[in-house]
Symmetry: C2
Subunit: 145 residues, 2 copies
């Protein structure tokens, strides 16, 4: 898809999509957000071919969403942990999940509960300034220059 020119646009959405805008990467980030860190954990969880997993992990590491950390010297073993940029991607995933629940929600689905209240969380995107749901108020686009 040629990520170079994508990263050059002035559109922040295009920049966000560049590098992580593929299904495997997002699922890896999902699993990492759930606490998985190791190659074989990702591989088994996703049923992904090891060749692809290696590439995706390298890409996410290069993009600064994951970090390789040595957890054993002998034998040499690395695990992949989320960086702060990676952790901050969780809201996007949760929102995709809310969309999936709404429009692809046939059958039984995994539930996401607030650990404290035990109630199912109800993710919404709002504008912190006005407090309004995104999509309920008109947005004005201002391109640079």
């Amino acid at each position: 898809m040629n990520e170079k020119n994508l990263s050059d646009t002035s559109c922040p959405i295009a920049r966000g999509v560049a590098g992580i805008g593929d299904a495997w990467s997002m699922l890896i980030l999902r699993d990492a957000s759930l606490g998985l860190t190791r190659f074989d954990q990702f591989r088994k969880s996703l049923g992904i071919a090891p060749t692809i997993l290696t590439r995706r992990l390298a890409m996410l590491t290069e993009e600064g969403l994951l970090e390789k950390q040595r957890y054993s010297e002998r034998p040499p073993r690395d695990e992949y942990v989320l960086t702060s940029a990676g952790r901050d991607f969780l809201p996007v995933l949760i929102l995709i999940g809310a969309w999936g629940r709404r429009y692809r929600g046939e059958g039984k689905l995994t539930q996401y509960l607030d650990a404290e209240t035990g109630e199912e969380i109800e993710p919404v995107a709002i504008d912190a300034v006005t407090g309004a749901k995104i999509g309920t108020r008109a947005i004005r686009i201002v391109k640079p220059e």
Copy 2:
């Protein structure tokens, strides 16, 4: 990537990612959210090869995010308009944009302003139940069965 088994999981994130989890599709949805509807508008905006655009538009249509609408009988011309499922994907894109602004924000970026107040919107994902930002409170995962 084999979308079939993705759609079969109980994970709403995986279901959301299936079908729209690729960069072009998300950028098409972005442009559609900004008001573009026609083949050539998308093609010029994205610099995408027509073969790919045809496939992506067909996919998004099949997935129920876009709808083909005839706007001229002679010559026969169709445009692509967002369905409600497509419109509801906007918050995800805006949130990706917020992430992109934060972590890929070098140089000048397009701004998204509230049309009424003129202030830059500050997108956040919250849990509508507790009102807390997603990521600030622990989440408990409950898998079905």
